[in-house]
Symmetry: C2
Subunit: 312 residues, 2 copies
């Protein structure tokens, strides 16, 4: 099967509203919503770095788009479409069928059509660029946190990292518990509707991809503020809560791959009920730096830093 057959069979979709030209010309042509701003994000996933070679291709297709939709969510954007560039060592139809099924199911769920891309031969590499829209001045950015704001996080943290430690062989977790944390790692849920609902409410937002402390640190740096968070308040699954305290803290604070939203709001702000748990984990302070305390208010050491692709 050649490159063009591959694209037709697995990635060409019927036309949808707002997409004048999709897969199959030199460019895709989209109709922007009048007055909206245009938001763009790009993520590259490399085998062995962002996913294990043994991962179910259906789940990999889901995750490749999910991590990109999560960036739109962090900015409160409404998804409009995405491109996929794919380097494959060889044409493996079973893999492609699974990958495209997982990818396009999530795309359909978010009305975010595949509009173009590229395929080539090479070491397995997935690069997705997503496009979304937000009204002028309403995109959620990192730089708006104010002293006194509350810090919130959606969902639960740390399960993806716990699953990775099981794969690495450093931790043992039993069958049902492992399947639960493995799903957190392989099938993350981008908080797209929550992000849009936070427009005009959140003062700053980011998604947790590299680890809570590092990602919150980006908000603090961009907003020129500090923060205090309560490690015991961090939301966690029963599976993670059954692990030794030191491991729990590492997974919660430095785990990454969570794709939950961390955001700040003015104290007492009314938060939207989007069917996902929201947990208040701390407060923005004037003093620079990030102070981690436990439920008793005692300082917690955190030499932990977030994931850096060229340091680890």
């Amino acid at each position: 099967m050649g490159e063009f057959d591959l694209i037709r069979r697995y990635f060409q979709r019927p036309a949808v509203a707002g997409v004048e030209v999709g897969v199959g010309d030199d460019c895709a042509v989209l109709v922007p919503t009048p007055g909206a701003r245009w938001l763009v994000s790009s993520d590259m996933l490399v085998e062995g770095r962002h996913f294990l070679s043994t991962v179910d291709p259906v789940r990999l297709g889901h995750k490749a788009l999910a991590v990109n939709l999560s960036d739109l969510a962090a900015c409160g954007a409404t998804p409009r479409g995405f491109t996929l560039a794919l380097a494959l060592p060889r044409v493996d139809e079973a893999w492609l069928a699974g990958f495209s099924r997982g990818l396009l199911a999530l795309a359909d769920a978010h009305a975010c059509p595949l509009i173009g891309g590229d395929t080539t031969q090479g070491p397995l590499n997935l690069c997705i660029t997503v496009f979304g829209e937000a009204p002028p001045g309403r995109a959620l950015l990192r730089g708006g946190a104010q002293v006194g704001d509350e810090i919130w996080v959606s969902g639960r943290l740390g399960d993806a990292r716990l699953a990775l430690e099981v794969f690495r062989g450093t931790v043992a977790v039993d069958g049902a518990g492992f399947e639960e944390v493995r799903a957190a790692m392989e099938l993350p849920t981008p908080r797209v509707a929550l992000g849009q609902a936070l427009r005009g409410i959140a003062t700053a937002a980011i998604d947790v991809s590299d680890g809570l402390l590092g990602d919150l640190g980006h908000i603090l740096a961009a907003s020129n503020v500090g923060a205090r968070i309560d490690v015991d308040a961090l939301p966690r699954s029963a599976v993670l809560a059954a692990q030794p305290p030191a491991l729990q803290r590492e997974c919660l604070m430095a785990g990454g791959d969570d794709y939950e939203l961390v955001f700040t709001t003015p104290a007492g702000a009314q938060l939207p009920d989007m069917g996902v748990a929201l947990t208040r984990i701390g407060v923005i302070e004037a003093e620079p730096g990030l102070r981690v305390v436990d439920a008793l208010g005692a300082a917690v050491e955190h030499g932990l830093c977030s994931f850096d692709h060229f340091k680890s």
Copy 2:
């Protein structure tokens, strides 16, 4: 040097008009031109497949963006920005300095700012997604060629392929000649201004990335027409013209990597003078298929097909 320092040092640029948020948040935020359509294209370049490991990084940076700008040119779009996702085996500052210099020089020349992206560790892979704009209904597409239209090509064809054959050791070309065809391969010129000038004139267009016959074939298929072209009319450099006729024809018709525009116009249309040679190479016909003839009108065999990343 970590991931974030790398981005700051080599890829972060001052803000420009129309870009509300550039590199450094979860998404870039762009201000679309009211009423314009939004055009998107994505290309992935893999070491050993799209470029030689020995290529000057300055030239590689140029080419990585040039091949993407060429897709915008083929659609007649005005560039608005691009994202870069980069997998690197290791942080090599000399390489990064050269690569970013070549990349950003071409970006500046086309007022097409780098607005975001991703960096990670992995086998060398460059994925660029470009964004452009065109007025509604004015994007150049593949499907508009009409019977009787003239077929035109910009610039010259075949030099990039000739240079590749020299690198492969199948052909010998002397110093100055080699530098000339090597520049065609490593420093292609995207025909961005020409593409925009052809809005409302060309009935169909594509850029020559995989080879003239294959790329023209996409126009014929999308337009549901056939064509006749004169191989002796194909524009070529003096260096290529000094090669054996069979090699010339292969480079001209199936070479690829040319990044010239092939487009169709109504017979006798007034073409814009954009400082690049335009050559009439054939005519659109009702009979399906592509007929290649020589200057005397004799049929030329062309078992040659265009480049396919999974067949070669």
